[in-house]
C-alpha cells in the first residue's frame, strides 16, 4: 500500500565546526535521525506493528538505506529525508513481564509483581496473558499505542537527535548546559514542502527552531525563510553557500587549474583538499607568489610552511620543480580588490623569513654539539617517567636497544662495523633537532630537519639519511627507512616508545591512545618484517627491560617481568595480528593459527611468522588439510579435558599399544615430527605443511578404530600421551591448526583492528 509522505529538512546552524570533525558529525547526524525516525515509526517502509519484548533491546537498526541525504559546511549540518509518514503507525506490542510462578502465589492470587506489571502497562491484571517461552511460563501484556502526528513526535525527537551527535571535544556556552562542538545559533526544521510546509517547534540550548536558514557571513543576508529543499538549495547558493561538500571538492580541483598557468600544477594533497572542503562554505582559488630567493630553502620546509601553516597548495612545473607560487582557497567568492592576495603573500613572506632566520640561527650550534652539551636533558619526552623522562634518558635507552639489534645483525653478517657506528651516531643526533628553532616552530618537520641539518653540518650521508628517515614508517602502508641503519634507529625509537609508554601507564585502551603507541607497535612489526628480517622481538623486549628494569618497571609499580608480558601481548596479539591481516592480507583464521602458535612456543619473530602464514594460506584449503584441522580441534578438546599435568612431557610406550591404528599413527608421527623440524629449520614452511597433511589417513583411522578413554588407566594414559605429542609436534608446531575453518565458516567472525 502506498502512503502519502512528506519531506523533512533539518539544518543545525552552528558557529564554525572544526574541519576535522565535520564529515563524521554529518554522517552521525544522518544516521541518528534516520534511526530515531525508524524507532518512532515514521518511516514508510516499516510494517504497521511489530512485536517487541519489554526487556529486550530494541530491534537491530537496519542499515540506513531510506532516502536520507546529508550535507555540511563549517556552519551547518544538514539532513534531507524525502519520505516521512505524516503520522506514526499504530503500535500493538506484547510486553513480557515476570515469570508466571512469581506473578501468582501458591493460592493462585496475583502478587505485587503481577499488579505492578499490569499497572505499568495500563491493563487490568485479568487481562494479562500467559506465554510459553524457552525459560518457562511468563506473563505478558498486550499494549496498543495509537500513532501521533509526525510534527508532534518530531518536536520531541529532533532535540534528542541533535544532542546525540558526539564530538571528540565538545563545550558548553549557555545556561541550559547543552554540550555541542560549538554554539548552536539556529535550527531549521521543516516538514512538508511549499504552501503546506510547516516548521517543527522546539527549543534547544536557547535556540528556537524555525523555517529559516542563513547565508554566508559575507553575503550580508540575515534570515532566509525557506519552504522546501529546492527553495533552500537555491537561496543558499544565491547567498554564497555551497552546502554540498562534494561540489566544493570539485571546485577546489577546478579552481587550482583556473588560477595556474598551463605548465603549472598544484602539488596533489588529499589531506589539504579535505581540510579546505571542510572549512569553507564557498570556494574560490587565488594564485599568489613569493620571492624566488626562498627556493634556496629545502623543499620540505617550504611545502610544510605552505601546507600546514597557511593551508596553501604548493605549485610545481611539469618536471616537479617547485615554483615561487602558491594556491590559496578562499572561503568566499573572489578577491575583488587584490587585498586578499596581498595579505596572503605578506604572511607567507613573513613565514619564510622566519624559516630562513631559524635555519641560519640553528647552524650556529651543530647537532653534535647540542648532544655533547646535554641540551636533550632539558627536553621532556614523557614527564610521567620522572628521572627517565628526558630525551637524554631516552637516547641512552635507545642506544642499549640498538646495540642488541646490531649485535644480532652483525652475527648474521648483515651489518658492517662501520654501520654500527653510524647507527649509534645517528641515535645521538636524531632527537637534537627538537632543540632547534626550526622544529620548535614547525614541529611536524622533526626528523626531516635533523636529517637536513646533519647533511648541512657535514655528518656522514648514512647518518643524515637515517635521521631523516627515523620516524618512518609513519603508517602501516608507509615507506620504511631507506637503509638498515635508518631501520635500526627507527626500531629503537619505537620500541622504547612502547616500553616506556607502558611503564608510564599509557597503554592504549579502547579508542584512547594519546601517545600513538599502536602506531609505534605497527611500525615495530612492519620494520621486523620488511627491514630487519629475522628479528626476535621477545628477546629484545626482555633484554631491554632487564637493563632498564629498575627505572622503567619501578615507575609502573610493576616488576619488569610483568611489564614485559604486557608489551609482549600488545605486540603479538594486537599489532602483529593487525599487520598480518591488513598488510599480509592473510585470512582471519590463518592469522589466529599463526599468532596462537607463537603464543604456545613463545617466539616473536614477525618475519618468520608471516612466512608461515603465507605458506599455510597456500595449502590450507585441501581436503586433507581441513580434515586435519578438524582432528586438531578434537585433539585440543581431548587435551583440555584430560589431566595434562599427569602426562605432559611424557612419551607414549609402544609396548602398551594394542591396536594397529595406534601403532601406525605412532610410527607416522615419529617420522613426521622429524621431517617438520628439518623443513622448518630450512624455512621451507610450505613443504612442512604439505608433509603435515600426509598424516591425515592415520589420524582418521586412529579416531575411527581406537577408543582413547579406555577402561584401562595405563592404556588411556598412553593414548593421551600419543595425542599430546601429536598436538605439540604436529598440530601446533608451525601453526595452531585447530584454528583453521573451512571456507565460509569463518565469515561470521568479527574483524577488529
Amino acid at each position: 500500500m502506498s502512503q502519502a509522505t512528506l519531506p523533512l529538512l533539518v539544518e543545525i546552524g552552528c558557529e564554525e565546526i572544526p574541519a576535522r570533525f565535520l564529515r563524521d558529525a554529518e554522517r552521525q547526524f544522518g544516521e541518528r535521525l534516520l534511526g530515531a525516525l525508524r524507532d518512532s515509526r515514521l518511516l514508510p517502509d516499516l510494517g504497521s506493528s511489530e512485536q517487541r519484548n519489554g526487556d529486550s533491546p530494541a530491534p537491530e537498526l537496519r542499515s540506513p538505506k531510506p532516502a536520507a541525504t546529508t550535507y555540511s559546511t563549517p556552519r551547518r549540518l544538514v539532513v534531507h529525508i524525502v519520505s516521512v509518514l505524516p503520522r506514526q503507525s499504530d503500535l500493538e506490542e506484547q510486553v513480557m513481564g515476570p515469570a508466571a510462578k512469581i506473578a501468582f502465589d501458591a493460592s493462585g492470587k496475583p502478587t505485587r509483581a503481577a499488579e505492578n506489571f499490569a499497572a505499568k502497562n495500563g491493563v487490568a491484571v485479568e487481562e494479562l496473558l500467559q506465554v510459553e517461552t524457552a525459560k518457562g511460563l511468563y506473563m505478558a501484556a498486550r499494549k496498543a499505542t495509537s500513532g501521533r502526528p509526525a510534527a508532534e513526535v518530531l518536536s520531541d525527537v529532533l532535540p534528542r537527535v541533535i544532542k546525540s551527535v558526539a564530538f571528540p571535544k565538545s563545550m558548553v556556552w549557555e545556561t541550559t548546559g547543552v554540550r555541542f562542538v560549538r554554539p548552536l545559533r539556529w535550527i531549521l526544521a521543516l516538514l512538508g514542502e511549499g504552501d503546506r510546509a510547516r516548521s517543527i517547534h522546539f527549543d534547544l540550548a536557547g535556540v528556537r527552531s524555525g523555517k529559516h536558514t542563513r547565508g554566508h557571513r559575507g553575503s550580508g543576508a540575515g534570515r532566509l525563510d525557506v519552504v522546501g529543499f529546492a527553495d533552500y538549495a537555491q537561496k543558499l547558493r544565491q547567498h554564497f553557500v555551497e552546502f554540498d561538500p562534494e561540489s566544493r571538492r570539485q571546485s577546489v580541483r577546478s579552481e587550482a587549474n583556473v588560477v595556474l598557468e598551463a605548465w603549472q600544477e598544484a602539488v596533489a594533497d588529499p589531506e589539504l583538499e579535505e581540510w579546505v572542503v571542510n572549512s569553507t562554505e564557498w570556494v574560490a582559488g587565488l594564485r599568489g607568489s613569493f620571492d624566488p630567493r626562498f627556493l634556496k630553502l629545502p623543499r620540505e620546509i617550504l611545502v610544510t610552511v605552505m601546507r600546514d601553516h597557511q593551508k596553501y597548495f604548493a605549485v610545481e612545473d611539469r618536471e616537479s620543480k617547485l615554483q615561487p607560487n602558491f594556491v590559496a582557497m578562499l572561503n568566499r567568492d573572489r578577491d575583488a580588490t587584490g587585498a586578499i592576495r596581498a595579505g596572503h603573500e605578506r604572511v607567507l613572506t613573513a613565514r619564510f623569513n622566519d624559516a630562513e632566520f631559524f635555519w641560519n640561527a640553528d647552524q650556529k650550534v651543530p647537532l653534535a654539539q647540542r648532544f655533547a652539551d646535554g641540551w636533550l636533558e632539558r627536553v621532556t619526552y614523557q614527564a610521567k617517567l620522572g628521572d627517565q623522562g628526558s630525551y637524554a634518558a631516552k637516547i641512552f635507552r635507545m642506544k642499549a636497544l640498538a646495540e642488541q639489534v646490531c649485535a644480532g645483525l652483525e652475527g648474521q653478517g648483515r651489518l658492517a662495523a662501520s654501520q654500527r657506528a653510524h647507527v649509534l651516531h645517528a641515535l645521538e643526533l636524531c632527537k637534537c633537532d627538537l632543540t632547534t628553532q626550526m622544529v620548535q616552530e614547525f614541529t611536524e618537520l622533526q626528523g626531516v630537519v635533523g636529517g637536513l641539518y646533519a647533511r648541512a653540518q657535514g655528518e656522514p650521508p648514512e647518518v643524515a639519511e637515517a635521521i631523516y628517515d627515523h620516524y618512518k614508517p609513519v603508517h602501516i602502508e608507509g615507506d620504511c627507512p631507506r637503509s638498515v641503519v635508518g631501520a635500526v634507529v627507527s626500531l629503537a625509537d619505537k620500541l622504547d616508545a612502547v616500553i616506556a609508554g607502558f611503564a608510564a601507564g599509557l597503554e592504549p585502551t579502547g579508542s584512547s591512545d594519546p601517545f600513538a603507541l599502536r602506531r609505534a607497535g605497527n611500525g615495530i612489526v612492519k620494520l621486523a618484517v620488511e627491514s630487519l628480517h629475522g628479528l626476535d622481538l621477545t628477546i629484545l623486549v626482555n633484554q631491554t627491560l632487564r637493563s632498564h628494569a629498575t627505572v622503567l618497571g619501578a615507575q609502573a609499580g610493576l616488576d619488569s617481568g610483568e611489564l614485559a608480558q604486557r608489551v609482549d601481548v600488545f605486540l603479538r596479539e594486537e599489532r602483529m595480528e593487525f599487520y598480518f591481516r591488513e598488510v599480509g592480507a592473510l585470512r582471519y583464521d590463518t592469522v589466529r593459527a599463526i599468532v596462537k602458535r607463537t603464543k604456545i612456543l613463545q617466539d616473536l619473530v614477525p618475519s618468520a611468522a608471516l612466512a608461515r602464514g603465507r605458506a599455510l594460506e597456500r595449502v590450507r584449503d585441501t581436503d586433507d588439510f581441513l580434515a586435519l584441522a578438524a582432528a586438531a580441534k578434537r585433539t585440543r578438546n581431548i587435551r583440555k579435558s584430560a589431566n595434562i599435568l599427569d602426562i605432559s612431557g611424557g612419551r607414549p610406550d609402544p609396548g602398551l599399544f594394542s591396536e594397529d591404528a595406534e601403532r601406525e599413527l605412532y610410527a607416522a608421527y615419529e617420522g613426521l615430527s622429524r621431517e617438520i623440524q628439518k623443513l622448518s629449520d630450512r624455512g621451507e614452511f610450505e613443504e612442512a605443511f604439505r608433509a603435515t597433511a600426509t598424516i591425515r589417513p592415520h589420524v582418521d583411522r586412529f579416531f575411527d578404530k581406537v577408543l582413547v578413554m579406555s577402561e584401562d588407566p595405563s592404556v588411556r594414559r598412553n593414548r593421551l600421551m600419543l595425542l599430546l605429542r601429536l598436538n605439540e609436534e604436529v598440530f601446533t608446531s608451525l601453526a595452531d591448526l585447530s584454528e583453521i575453518e573451512p571456507i565460509g565458516a569463518e565469515g561470521g567472525k568479527a574483524r577488529n583492528g
Partner: protein, 311 residues
C-alpha cells in the same frame, strides 16, 4: 583614508567595546604572559556575576624574545583583551564589527574561524575556540572558557584577544612590526626596539638562575604563608580574618612566580622534572586563589538570590 596608527587602534577598540557596555579597565601593572592572567579576567570569570571588560595588556613571553631582530616576533607584545560573561548570541558578529572599527573592510577580505583550543596549565584554565584568520594572518584568539583555576565556569565567558602589533603591521602594510607608526610622529621601533633587545639579553643571557630561583621561592613562600593563615581561620569567629584576606596580593605573588618560571625556562636551566614540579607549584597557588575567591562570593550569592525573590 589612511590606516590608523597604533595608539589610534587602541583607542578605537576601547571605544568600540565601551559602546558594547564593557568596562574599559587599565592595563595590569605586573608582568603577565597574557591578558588572561590579569585579575580582571582570571578572577572575574569565576562565579555567577555577569561581567564585561576590555583592556590593553602588554604581555611578556621571554621565550619569544628575538633581540629585536625578527620582524614579526616580540618578547613583549600588546594584547587587547575582551571578556563577555555571558557571551551574547551574536558575539561573532559583534567581534567582526570591531574589525570594521579598526578600518578593516570585511567585504574586501577573507575571514575564517579555524579550530584552536587554548590551555594555560599554570592557571588550571582551558577553553574551546578558534584562531581568527584574516587573509591567512592570525589576528585574534577567540575562546569560550570552560574552566579557570581548576573550576568549571557557569556562566561561560567568551574571551577575545587581539594581537595588536600584527594587525597594525597588516593595516599599515609595513614589513616589520618595528616600522609600525605608533603615533603620527613616532614608530613602534623608536619606542620599543631598545626594550626588546634589553629584555631579550636579560631573559636569555644575563638572568642569574640562582637569583631567579631564590626570588621564585621567596614569592611562593610569602604566598603560601598567607594562604596558610586563611585556611587556619576556619572558625565562624574568624569571619573577619577571612573577609580581610589580601587575596589579590596572593595572586600577584603567584603571577610573579609564573613570570620567573618563564625567565628560567627561556634561560634554558629548567630540567624535565623541575619543569613539571614548578608548573604544579604555580598551578596550586592559582587554584587555591580561585577557590577562595569563589568561596567569598557565597554570601554575595545569597544576596543575589534574595533579591531575585518576589517581594
Amino acid at each position: 583614508m589612511s590606516s590608523l596608527n597604533f595608539q589610534d587602534m587602541l583607542a578605537a577598540l576601547s571605544r568600540f567595546w565601551a559602546d558594547q557596555g564593557c568596562v574599559v579597565a587599565l592595563p595590569y601593572d605586573l608582568e603577565v604572559g597574557a591578558g588572561t592572567m590579569c585579575p580582571e579576567t582570571f578572577l572575574r570569570v569565576l562565579g555567577p556575576r555577569p561581567w564585561k571588560v576590555a583592556y590593553v595588556q602588554p604581555s611578556r613571553r621571554p621565550a619569544d624574545g628575538r633581540y629585536g631582530e625578527n620582524p614579526n616576533r616580540l618578547l613583549k607584545h600588546t594584547q587587547m583583551q575582551v571578556i563577555l560573561k555571558p557571551p551574547p548570541p551574536d558575539i561573532q558578529d559583534v567581534y567582526l564589527a570591531s574589525l570594521e572599527a579598526l578600518g578593516i573592510r570585511l567585504a574586501d577580505h577573507d575571514i575564517r574561524f579555524e579550530e584552536d583550543n587554548w590551555e594555560a596549565p599554570t592557571l588550571g584554565a582551558w577553553g574551546i575556540g578558534w584562531q581568527v584568520m584574516l587573509d591567512g594572518l592570525e589576528i585574534t584568539q577567540f575562546t569560550y572558557f570552560q574552566q579557570c583555576g581548576g573550576l568549571d565556569l557557569d556562566p561561560i565567558s567568551a574571551e577575545i584577544t587581539y594581537g595588536l602589533e600584527r594587525i597594525a603591521a597588516f593595516l599599515q602594510n609595513v614589513p616589520s612590526v618595528y616600522d609600525v607608526r605608533w603615533s603620527n610622529d613616532h614608530s613602534y621601533g623608536e619606542i620599543r626596539l631598545e626594550e626588546e633587545l634589553e629584555l631579550s639579553i636579560y631573559d636569555f643571557e644575563a638572568a642569574s638562575p640562582e637569583a631567579c630561583r631564590t626570588l621564585l621561592d621567596t614569592y611562593e613562600a610569602e604566598a603560601l604563608r598567607l594562604l596558610g593563615s586563611y585556611s587556619k581561620a576556619k572558625d565562624p569567629k574568624d569571619a573577619e580574618v577571612r573577609r580581610r584576606f589580601p587575596l589579590r596580593k596572593v595572586y600577584e605573588l603567584c603571577l610573579k612566580c609564573s613570570h620567573l618560571f618563564n625567565i628560567l625556562d627561556a634561560r634554558g636551566v629548567i630540567s624535565v622534572t623541575e619543569r613539571v614540579a614548578l608548573i604544579g607549584r604555580i598551578r596550586k597557588m592559582a587554584t587555591q586563589v580561585a577557590r577562595i575567591y569563589v568561596g567569598r562570593l557565597q554570601p554575595a550569592l545569597a544576596e543575589i538570590a534574595a533579591e531575585a525573590q518576589p517581594a
